[in-house]
């Protein structure tokens, strides 16, 4: 599924003295199967942006096309779009309500009017995807789980709808590093194997650097950068200015360059940094 956004703006409390322009004239296209990171400082409008894409907020200005269907058109049924565009909210634990984990995950598929055996397959699949043990947990009340497990159940609840576009709003906030890596890994697999288009909202450069193909950087509601990860990280000063910074290894290379090294490439992880530094050292000794 492709997403096309044209001059999109969203204003909270429009016309009131304390109106907030949360999304300010943003345009971009996302191709089918892309893995895009949306990154920005707290309050930069990330959550608002993705909720308009899901049809939960009506844009104040601009248009949104999902597979060439105009979301701002009154005749388009928003619920049909939501069946294709899955949205995992920031801190989604609060959406749990059923007596058992199984029933809660089945809520979405049930709303799609699927048959019981199809629902069963989907629940099992999505529990496996988020790393929950089906046999052990399917009859447990979701309220008895730990915070991290609740998060996984909530994510599974959206995955079970088999969305063609998956939007995740800071899915790893507040999770331990191991759980974070596991969940991100699964999202990556979904994108690579099942060709699900993924939009991952985050405010951590470290998290997205080695994961996404493309980065869209927001600042105060505006799109300031858009491109593949390396080209975005080249804008070191701009990123630092808007309070985001770059991953530590990228910063290390920047600092080395300031002290007289001359490393041209933008590095994203320790391995690349090691190679770049070694190359540099060898180059120096050759002179």
């Amino acid at each position: 599924m492709s997403i096309k956004i044209e001059n999109l703006s969203y204003i909270y409390d429009q016309g009131m003295p304390f109106e907030t322009i949360a999304v300010d004239n943003i345009s971009f296209d996302i191709e089918n199967g892309e893995f895009v990171g949306i990154i920005g400082h707290t309050g930069s409008g990330k959550s608002t942006l993705i909720q308009t894409i899901n049809g939960l907020y009506k844009p104040s200005k601009g248009k949104i096309f999902i597979n060439d269907i105009d979301l701002t058109d009154k005749k388009v049924k928003k619920s049909d779009i939501r069946k294709k565009v899955g949205l995992v909210f920031q801190y989604p634990e609060y959406q749990l309500f059923e007596e058992t984990v199984y029933k809660d995950i089945a809520f979405g598929p049930k709303n799609l009017n699927l048959k019981a055996d199809e629902i069963d397959i989907r629940v099992k699949e999505s529990m496996k995807l988020v790393g929950l043990d089906f046999e052990k947990l399917n009859e447990v009340s979701p309220f008895e789980l730990s915070g991290g497990q609740k998060r996984r159940v909530a994510i599974a609840g959206v995955l079970a709808m088999n969305p063609e576009v998956l939007i995740l709003d800071e899915p790893t906030a507040g999770l331990d590093p191991k759980a974070r890596d596991e969940i991100l890994k699964q999202i990556e697999i979904l994108n690579k194997k099942k060709k699900v288009t993924v939009l991952l909202v985050s405010h951590s450069m470290e998290e997205v650097a080695n994961l996404v193909d493309r980065l869209i950087v927001l600042d105060k509601g505006k799109k300031v950068l858009d491109g593949d990860v390396r080209s975005v990280f080249k804008e070191y000063e701009l990123l630092t200015d808007i309070g985001l910074g770059v991953p530590q290894v990228t910063e290390l290379i920047n600092k080395l360059n300031l002290r007289g090294c001359n490393i041209k490439e933008t590095v994203l992880n320790v391995e690349e940094a090691k190679n770049a530094i070694l190359k540099q050292l060898r180059g120096d000794s050759n002179d």
Partner: protein, 266 residues
């Protein structure tokens, strides 16, 4: 839609109305409420309208913001109007099968709707211009005389303020949960009544859970800071009547007097 509800919210701004003593404002609101139910004539409502518009102007709160607060209860107002129009016996001016519209009904329906509108505007004006802290203080002081007969004035005032304080929070929460469930394909807007009622479960369960959680957290936080209500509690800002309250009283008396003078009340 849910976020339109402004009842119980505070609108920070600097105005004479904001500066008035909360005790005076609470009493004035009561007098105002009685007045809108006592007024019986069109001219009377003209005076009430003038009075409330004057207050809104003074409070520096945008009229638009106050009117926005009416939107969510529009349904109730229309309902009250319709019930009155169709079910008041009297001189029939329009008839179609079993539907009868009487002139008395129209008259009563109209006044009922107007009264509800004024009631909501007046009470929201009180909370919009009075910070929760001042409101508690005011309520507590006003309830003080009843302490003698065993009324826990401080606790009552505290409870009221906390409830007021949490109205917007709960609304936000409702909005958030609704959106999350809608993203999972829940439908709150269509279907039969039974289905709709069932559809509320995914909304209500998380809402209650988070409300209890919040209450628990708040109680814990208050206890952790050694909160102890009632006796011997002193205040940082002691309530004091000022000249503004004096002027305010004159305006209020003028308002009531003019209603009586023109025989607009029964």
């Amino acid at each position: 839609m849910i976020r339109d509800i402004t009842v119980g919210q505070y609108y920070p701004s600097e105005s004479t109305i904001h500066d008035l003593d909360p005790r005076f404002k609470i009493i004035a609101s009561f007098i105002y409420m009685i007045s809108i139910f006592a007024v019986e004539s069109i001219i009377g409502y003209g005076v009430v309208t003038l009075f409330i518009v004057f207050l809104i102007k003074m409070s520096k709160i945008p009229i638009k913001y106050i009117l926005k607060g009416l939107k969510p209860i529009m349904l109730i107002i229309i309902f009250a109007f319709v019930i009155n129009v169709f079910f008041t016996p009297g001189k029939v001016i329009f008839e179609y099968r079993i539907i009868k519209v009487t002139s008395e009904g129209l008259y009563r329906g109209f006044f009922m709707a107007i009264r509800l509108v004024f009631l909501i505007i007046g009470t929201s004006l009180l909370t919009l211009t009075t910070s929760p802290l001042k409101l508690t203080d005011g309520i507590e002081k006003l309830l003080n005389p009843f302490k003698k007969i065993g009324l826990p004035a401080h606790e009552l005032a505290m409870m009221m303020t906390i409830s007021l304080r949490f109205i917007p929070t709960l609304l936000e929460e409702t909005d958030k949960i609704m959106k999350a469930q809608m993203a999972r394909g829940a439908d709150f807007e269509s279907g039969s009544i039974v289905n709709r009622a069932k559809g509320l479960i995914p909304l209500l369960v998380p809402l209650f859970i988070s409300a209890f959680q919040r209450a628990d957290d708040l109680a814990m936080a208050m206890e952790a800071r050694c909160y102890r209500g009632g006796d011997n509690r002193t205040q940082l800002k002691v309530l004091k009547y000022t000249r503004k309250d004096l002027i305010g009283s004159f305006v209020l008396i003028l308002y009531v007097a003019s209603l009586f003078a023109f025989k607009m009340v029964w």
